[in-house]
Symmetry: D2
Subunit: 359 residues, 4 copies
Amino acid sequence: MTIRVAVAGASGYAGGEMLRLLAGHPEVEVGTLTAHSSAGTPLGQHHPHLRSLADRVLEPTTPEALAGHDVVVLALPHGASGAVAAQLPDDVLVLDLGADHRLVSADDWSEYYGSEHAGTWPYGLPELLVAGADGTVTRQRENLAGVRRIAVPGCNVTAVTLGLQPGVASGLVDTSDVVAVLAVGYSGAGKALKPHLLAAEGLGSAVPYAVGGTHRHVPEIAQNLRSAGAGPGRDAVGLSFTPVLVPMSRGILATVTARLAPGHEDAADAEIRQAWADTYVAEPFVELLPEGQWPTTAMTVGANTALVQVAVDRRAGRVVTVTAIDNLVKGTAGGALQSMNIALGLHQELGLTTQGVAP
Amino acid sequence: MTIRVAVAGASGYAGGEMLRLLAGHPEVEVGTLTAHSSAGTPLGQHHPHLRSLADRVLEPTTPEALAGHDVVVLALPHGASGAVAAQLPDDVLVLDLGADHRLVSADDWSEYYGSEHAGTWPYGLPELLVAGADGTVTRQRENLAGVRRIAVPGCNVTAVTLGLQPGVASGLVDTSDVVAVLAVGYSGAGKALKPHLLAAEGLGSAVPYAVGGTHRHVPEIAQNLRSAGAGPGRDAVGLSFTPVLVPMSRGILATVTARLAPGHEDAADAEIRQAWADTYVAEPFVELLPEGQWPTTAMTVGANTALVQVAVDRRAGRVVTVTAIDNLVKGTAGGALQSMNIALGLHQELGLTTQGVAP
Amino acid sequence: MTIRVAVAGASGYAGGEMLRLLAGHPEVEVGTLTAHSSAGTPLGQHHPHLRSLADRVLEPTTPEALAGHDVVVLALPHGASGAVAAQLPDDVLVLDLGADHRLVSADDWSEYYGSEHAGTWPYGLPELLVAGADGTVTRQRENLAGVRRIAVPGCNVTAVTLGLQPGVASGLVDTSDVVAVLAVGYSGAGKALKPHLLAAEGLGSAVPYAVGGTHRHVPEIAQNLRSAGAGPGRDAVGLSFTPVLVPMSRGILATVTARLAPGHEDAADAEIRQAWADTYVAEPFVELLPEGQWPTTAMTVGANTALVQVAVDRRAGRVVTVTAIDNLVKGTAGGALQSMNIALGLHQELGLTTQGVAP
Amino acid sequence: MTIRVAVAGASGYAGGEMLRLLAGHPEVEVGTLTAHSSAGTPLGQHHPHLRSLADRVLEPTTPEALAGHDVVVLALPHGASGAVAAQLPDDVLVLDLGADHRLVSADDWSEYYGSEHAGTWPYGLPELLVAGADGTVTRQRENLAGVRRIAVPGCNVTAVTLGLQPGVASGLVDTSDVVAVLAVGYSGAGKALKPHLLAAEGLGSAVPYAVGGTHRHVPEIAQNLRSAGAGPGRDAVGLSFTPVLVPMSRGILATVTARLAPGHEDAADAEIRQAWADTYVAEPFVELLPEGQWPTTAMTVGANTALVQVAVDRRAGRVVTVTAIDNLVKGTAGGALQSMNIALGLHQELGLTTQGVAP
């Protein structure tokens, strides 16, 4: 079986990482690559690290260019993928790396993105816990088999969700006052030419941004925590979210804390730890590290792994979780490839690794 | 007036930074420099960046070597300064850069440091707010004039305290559930030869440590917030504290959040912001940045400044403050020099700058 | 076919990278892992990024532990592998990542390493040009088929050799006065706990070492350039070699310059460029970049590629070549795996990639 | 005495560093600050690390705005300062941080900069050796007293010149085949918004540029080496020059090698070393480090020091020198301030330090 995959927006970081992984996928043939202002130039000019594809020439992003593929990956600016997707056949698997189809609530979308909502697609986080009205908990993976449209999650969203959801689904933590602070690498900010993204500015510095709850990933995280059992209402989740750019090219380290839920203040450490262990014991890409070992972003570079650790701070009355991912792999292109595998009925680990490139 | 200053423990990062600043202080003459295992070697072997002192030879740390100075700086490992200080004359100004004399509570000391408490010295954070029983608020500066023993605060403690105390003293924030996550440079971890402190391990990675409330700075921060008005009891402050090493040699960026206090949930942004502005309007080394501008560690490198910004996240119901300092300057040696100036009746800004070395 | 591979010295950076690659090799089964002081501890404690092998326990390095494997990789300190290798059966393929068996000249060995020469093994640089007495030029690859002992080259050696040898074999450059300056990442310095290898020291700094021709890679580079056609005598090659540690965890960027050879001063740029193009046109892992594009280390992270560019500086009368590699992949473990594939008659690209992990 | 200093082009890195130093100069009052596209905005928006000047508003760069100052610093793009300087009174001291007035040869200028030559000003490198026709060697410092126009050297030029000139003036080294490779921090590339200057691209990478002798600093270095004694003709100096961007915000580490001059091949190490020692023994800002200690850029951050070391590689027949400077201080603004002090008859060390900010 050979799957032909086209990538729209191949000149950006997300598109480039998608190509790095696709080039190593045993069942995939890389098809058309498109771009906007870079159309007509060779890929090697934008991603010289992708040697096997360096001579590929980027085409303009048109329905014709994207036709004739089994899978189309949209690595476009937020707000741009809706229009392109609308022109693609229903039987083609479309993976949207942008935000356009992630949010269920049109109000959330318009409030944080300010444009018209393009609609909601199946959410591409296979490990997301889905709490049913009857108290059962399933996983989003089950909702991805056979689908032809997938909204790939935001990178910060993936890190925060995977770190906290076991406590939510188990009812052990209170979601009304969650605090998340993330150390984020610069590739997460994209290739936009902005002064604060210059190396001279970032080297040797820690730079907070979107402080005070304005980051667009806030409603998406809340949506996921509600899925995991926080309850339906918008008020079910209170989240203080602060990302901080630090001098690394890749990686997200998410420190997420939440109070123990009322009635569970005295839950034993072992019981709390067990909730995380049980959630991820069968997951190939999400792992609770051995007790006492804390994740670092270096452990995950180039890998599709999310590494998690949890501790209870009795004096503070808070559970503290730390999650490390590679923002471009598990946080974007790797997660997308994993969801593609599931949607197409392939082994979900095809073309992905759990070994990080370290040191 | 010439002040002769000796530095015990001159081979470490704190001692080296103290010397960098002392060498530029108009009223100071650098006296004896001592070390333990490095005794007998020239300073230039340990701090080649300090050219004017490179040929100074380190002596063993003895009362004789430290005699005959107006000021003695102790830059020794935690637990070591108590014994040395006990042998120094009462009329010599002793600045302890270590933790030995910071904590008021012997219980806190034994719980977090595990040795016998060496006693409490006047606390060297001039800008610390001191809430009186009668409701008046003074500053620790007033308690430093003329003293001959000063306990210099921990670097992380200074960042978290300066960031949050205006909200505490004004009663606007609730101290029962404070969450602090810090991005910390490697010089804060000292010169100890540990595998996780190697450049190969730290470059390109974000590395959490002392997660779950075990960091020794926790009780010191709580002590300061109680001073600022959180109330006397140990339960008056709940603090979740997580430091994360990031790839920079210097700097601390402290993101600190706390809920709005009961009854103040509807306080206007302007009112909240004013509390921070009023607190620091007259302080030369602590500054609330213009609205919308967030501090970065690069702004403070080499300077004695603490740069603060505050915002209110209405949806999360939390005040978010971010504070940037140079851990070795305002966080250690600069703060010590400022306190020395105050204790000796000099202008507190002597030998210190507010201009950071950036980019 | 399944190849059982043991790794001696699995706790170090070279051993860890070997395991990262072996874990992804389709024909390999990772066998026994050994260590010295770390024997008895799980691999995950030393290489937490290698998730699939994290629970493997390290055994002491003994002939018994290494018995029963098809391949044994020696990732031991220089000077230690000779003794271990002597105890291994002749029919086992032994890959020595250390220097012990690289040098042909016992004098070179004793002069630069100061111990007794362990003997010379087939040299594991498949792309090395071998100039015959009859003027024919072959490649070292031909000498690796079927061998059972391979000396893996030094990382800096690989970068400098691949960058310059096309000019040597073609006779276009003069090898009597070669100058090489390398920007080197910290993983190249290993895991030794030395003060100058601390993150606090390396971050934001450029640090030269082994300046003045004392680096142990000097005689090995000269040996290779003689192989490529510089001529037999020790005086055939003059080399000024200076490595500089820069703040990155991986990577070597080698800038190598040499004068145009007498009689070739007027060789056209195109002719010179063609010598490099011809040498590497059929090599899967060494590539001359398109004219005008210069290699960076980021392009090669995690990949087995050596990226080369060449220019002629007419005013200086020198050819300038720049070569980028990942010191742990093409510079060590990847090159070793490639040679293993060749020795065992497998496709040389098995388990290796040309796609770098960037940005 | 109070010197009023205006800075034209205050929003860039060179202008910002000039202001950092001017703010600490005891005799200086910072006057008008101008900019081009940033006119009308506060300085704090561009240089938030300069707290004492943060509220200063940038004015358009006009003769009126720059009038009424004792000193005017031009921190403008190459090619722009000539026109502005022409409008300034003769009795005002003008420091040009740009390249416009550095080169003596109009041919060199037009060849490397492609515009019309603005003329040559006294060269602002006080330590530059000036070999007279009669064999005497003086220093450029003597030519700066009382001048009213100063061309500040290029940062790379300063590093290479100071590292090699003792060998040139002493006749010990041959200047016909000099090879220089530099590790350069990103602030040296300025604030221009170019993709390869993004943090995501630079972090974890080494990036060569202007390879093959095309860098504009080449003719300026040759001019200096001729001044130091290489002889008058353009052919007197052969220079291979390669700069490599490495992940640090500041600093230049220049590795410069040259062959021993004919007749001096057997010069003793001590004699060679003495040439460097004698040249810099009385210089406050240029220092030959103790034998065996090599400079690093971290030693010089924020300081006006150039740290030099020299060794002889007998096998290669080359002298190897390594020089470290802070590109923005000794390489630009600090060197300018030093020259300003000399021109105005002040102590040359005023407002400058030899202590680096490290680690």
